[in-house]
Amino acid sequence: MKQLLIVAALVVSALFPTASQAQNAKYLAAMEKNLLHLDSIQNPEEWMSKAGQFARIAMAEPTEWLPSYYAAYCQIMATTRTKGTEKLDEWLDEADKNIEEGLKRKPQESELLTLKAMSSFMRMRVNPMERWQKYGGISQENLAKAKEADPTNPRPWMLQGQSVLFTPEQFGGGKDKAMPILNTAIDKFNAFKPASKIHPIWGKEYCESLMK
């Protein structure tokens, strides 16, 4: 009888997707749907609304790190599309919360560490003169960690190149110093294979635009 039950269970599971598989398919579908046309979003409200959708998925899927990653990514992107700096710290606080949540689910994830660097880089916009020392430090530190966690990830290289590019020559930045870093980033982009359809792939086009 026991064996029969096991057989029955096996047959059932073969015939019909189990709950977890169904859930997984549903998860992938939802992620793919939300990632579609992501980078064509222009206004900050839309980015924040997108962040809300990823945050909802993150709450429903407590073991996946990618929804938290994208929620934070959208919140950071929202700050790049807003002119003023009033909302900036508030939004980046939310982004940082999502990054920390992601790191709880997948510690030392290179992509999450890259976002952490991005978030503190953005915070400098509020008052560069006063903030560069603190947030520049956090940014550099996390880029280094991100590179170490995954040497094939091109995004920390791209961000580092960008930061050097925007730094005045007097402070050790400028195009000449940035180009080798951005070239490394491009090489890594060309070799980069995302782990799945929903893993991060963004940045190559932006990197190329920086090099012009």
Partner: protein, 721 residues
């Protein structure tokens, strides 16, 4: 057997497949407590992906294929989460609801009356710590920068913060909760001294021009509350070389970022500078200082922070100048100064936090005015504890106590050409015990009441006082605040008088009334403050019977405007103070405007950043009307006035990275135009009036500051450049 199969199939089928047909549409409007629509609200069904974000009209709409009992959740930054349990069974459901605003530390109104804050915190503040070192005329001195703010007087012949008609001794400097007995370098006749502490030591400064918190006492006019840095961002070394000296420092941050130590050493010698730039005084011993400081910070538990700071400085100088009034012709000074401070603060839970501290300071002046040999020694040992209990979102009750042991001693000898009289000693001690309680009651994000009280007992006076303090702040608009403050403030007579038991009659007293309006955005700051300060029980030193029958008042208006936006890369501020004050104290025969007060003071500070040149340049222009001066030959009392005072100073800082080292070249000149500045008049033995101005018409400063950090964060300046 077959039965199980069937059950299995039925189970699998009923759930996902059938319900798919039953979709429910959810929609509604989300508003705040005032019925204004809220945009950007994340409305969703808990545990599902289904949800939507509200639009500008506060509307949301989404469908779900789930059925049964589910929780509808709405979240928005700055608001409390909204939750509602729904039963979904297809069809259309409308749910309109209201969300409550969270009382939020960044958005909530803060106490503004009498308080000017300079801090790193995210909250928009009047000044940032960096402003202190980039303000012309301030010469990198915290007190110099504060003198560009409304409420402070431009007193040039002696050190101190003279606030709203108060004497310099009526301002107390506090570091991490602990009183600093000697915040300035030791007094030299008619030469104002700088503050002792490096501005980079502090992350926050609260300059209270009146009505300050019950946490502090023993200052009739003003409290300057400084908070030292927490953990440094990184390990780094700094070096400096300037026209007046050399310095070096190191900060080490441990790998786990749980502890940090550091210190610095400085040597200052004005000989080369004073040889080059002629001074009014003749120096036998050019001013020379040697000092250092050390700190240790350690993070204990999650939120606990232990901080130690220690400071030592030795200084000496010797000068001569024409004998004026009672000031000596020859003056020599040797000074040793120690300040130490050990504090621990910790957030125990959501509800409780604690603070404790102990501090010891010591100052020894050996002074030789003409043929006198004087020794002045003071010591202060203090302990302080405070417990904070959070009672609401932001409302909190703070209760604490303080115990201060003052020791003061002085010696006196006369030098008769190599033969000195026997040393005479005098000592005094005072134990000051205080207890305070203060309750910040947030009625909402917009309205806060602060009720406080402070009790003090001084052993030398054998008297106690109880001082009530009240502040109210109301957020009138998104960026504007209306504030009111009232309080009683008590202070012991100045140590010099305490040697005479006739001064032991009681505390001197001031009562403050303040009305404040502030409009503040990241780009602009506007403040206007009207005040009245009533002085009572001021010590009068008429012979033979001293009494506490002195008194007076100070009233006026302070204005402040700061604009960081209108002109590109330009930041400027304007301060104006109107002051009407009269008092009778010490040997004043009648109520009169004291020598350290003037009716009108205005300052314009201008800074511009030249991005191409990586140079910050600016100027400070300060103007004040004449001050009363003491004339022994006049029939009236303090009737004369010095001429108006103008001071126009410029400064520039050039920033550059050389081989990974961050370098700042700082240049500054005070009184560029070389206008004659008269701080006060004094009289010589022949009855002639002599003007007292700065030691030299201009002060030039050239310095190079180099910072070498272990990470290359200085490569990242900013994206806007």
């Amino acid at each position: 057997m077959k039965f199980f199969f069937l059950v299995g199939i039925v189970l699998v089928c009923t759930n996902p497949f059938i319900s798919q047909a039953q979709t429910t549409e959810l929609n509604g409007i989300v508003t705040d407590q005032k019925k204004n629509p809220l945009a950007g609200v994340n409305v969703f069904l808990k545990g599902t992906y289904d949800g939507a974000t509200t639009d500008a009209k506060g509307q949301y709409r989404f469908t779900t294929s789930d059925t049964g009992t589910l929780e509808l959740v709405a979240t928005l930054l700055g608001f409390k989460d909204f939750r509602k349990t729904l039963i979904l069974q297809g069809g259309n459901q409308q749910h309109n609801f209201m969300m409550k605003e969270k009382v939020n530390e960044l958005k909530a109104v803060t106490i503004s009356a009498g308080t000017i804050e300079a801090s790193d915190s995210r909250r928009v503040t009047v000044l940032k710590p960096l402003d202190i070192v980039t303000t012309a005329n301030a010469q990198g001195d915290i007190f110099g920068a504060l003198r560009t703010l409304p409420g402070a007087q431009q007193v040039g012949e002696q050190e101190g913060l003279f606030v709203r008609g108060g004497a310099g001794s009526e301002t107390k400097t506090i570091i991490d909760g602990m009183v600093v007995n000697n915040p300035f370098f030791s007094s030299t006749p008619d030469i104002a001294q700088r503050g002792r502490f490096n501005p980079f030591l502090f992350k926050g400064t609260v300059f209270s021009t009146g009505g300050y918190s019950a946490q502090y006492g023993q200052a009739l006019s003003s409290a300057l509350v400084l908070e030292t840095q927490d953990m440094p961002d990184r390990t780094a070394s700094t070096y400096s070389i300037s026209a007046v000296g050399l310095g070096g420092g190191h900060v080490h941050l441990s790998k786990d970022k749980k502890s940090a130590w550091g210190g610095d050493l400085n040597y200052t010698n004005l000989l080369p500078y004073m040889k080059l730039v002629p001074q009014r005084q003749t120096y036998q011993q050019y001013p020379e200082f040697f000092g250092g400081s050390a700190f240790y910070r350690h993070q204990l538990r999650k939120n606990g922070l232990l901080k130690f700071y220690g400071y030592y400085n030795y200084g000496r100088l010797g000068l001569s100048q024409p004998r004026l009034d009672s000031l000596p012709a020859n003056f020599r000074l040797n000074n040793h100064n120690v300040y130490t401070n050990l504090t621990y603060k910790d957030i125990i839970s959501d509800k409780w936090s604690i603070y404790g501290g102990i501090s010891y300071s010591y100052n020894l002046d050996n002074i030789r005015p003409d043929s006198l040999i004087l020794g002045n020694r003071n010591e202060l040992l203090q302990t302080r504890v405070m417990v904070t209990r959070v009672t609401g979102d932001l409302s909190a009750l703070r209760v604490g106590g303080e115990w201060q042991q003052y020791g003061d001693g002085r010696s006196f000898q006369i030098d008769l050409n190599g033969f000195s009289t026997p040393k005479l000693f005098q000592n005094l001690q005072d134990y000051l015990s205080s207890a305070f309680a203060e309750y910040d009651l947030y009625a909402s994000n917009r309205l806060v009441f602060r009720f406080g009280g402070r009790y003090e007992y001084s052993s030398i006076l054998a008297q106690a006082n109880l001082a009530p303090r009240v502040s109210i702040s109301y957020k009138a608009g998104a960026n504007s605040t209306l504030g009111l403050a009232y309080g009683d403030f008590y202070q012991k007579p100045v140590t010099q008088w305490l040697y005479d038991t006739r001064s032991h009659q009681g505390f001197e007293k001031a009562t403050h009334y303040i009305l404040n309006y502030q409009w503040i955005t990241p780009a602009y700051t506007f403040r206007v403050e009207a005040y009245r300060k009533q002085y009572d029980q001021l010590l009068r030193t008429f012979e033979p019977n001293w009494d506490l029958a002195g008194g007076g008042y100070a009233q006026g208006i302070d204005l402040f405007w700061r604009d960081r936006k209108t002109f590109k890369n330009v930041d400027y501020w304007i301060s104006y103070s109107f002051l009407d004050t009269r008092r009778q104290y010490l040997n004043y025969p009648i109520q009169a405007m004291p020598t350290f007060a003037t009716p009108h003071t205005a300052t314009l500070v201008f800074k511009k950043f030249f991005t191409k040149l990586n140079t910050a340049a600016g100027f400070t222009y300060s103007y004040s009307t004449g001050r009363p001066y003491f004339n022994p030959y006049e029939t009236g009392f303090l009737t004369g006035r010095t001429p108006d005072l103008h001071n126009f100073g410029v400064n520039a800082s050039i920033l550059k990275t050389i081989r990974g080292a961050f370098c700042v070249l700082a240049l500054s000149v005070t009184n560029v135009l070389g206008l004659e500045q008269v701080f006060t008049y004094r009289f010589n033995a022949a009855g002639e009036r002599i003007a007292v101005g700065p030691p030299a018409p201009r002060f030039f400063f050239v310095g190079l500051f180099i910072s070498v950090g272990q990470n290359r964060s200085n490569e990242v300046v900013n994206q806007n450049n």
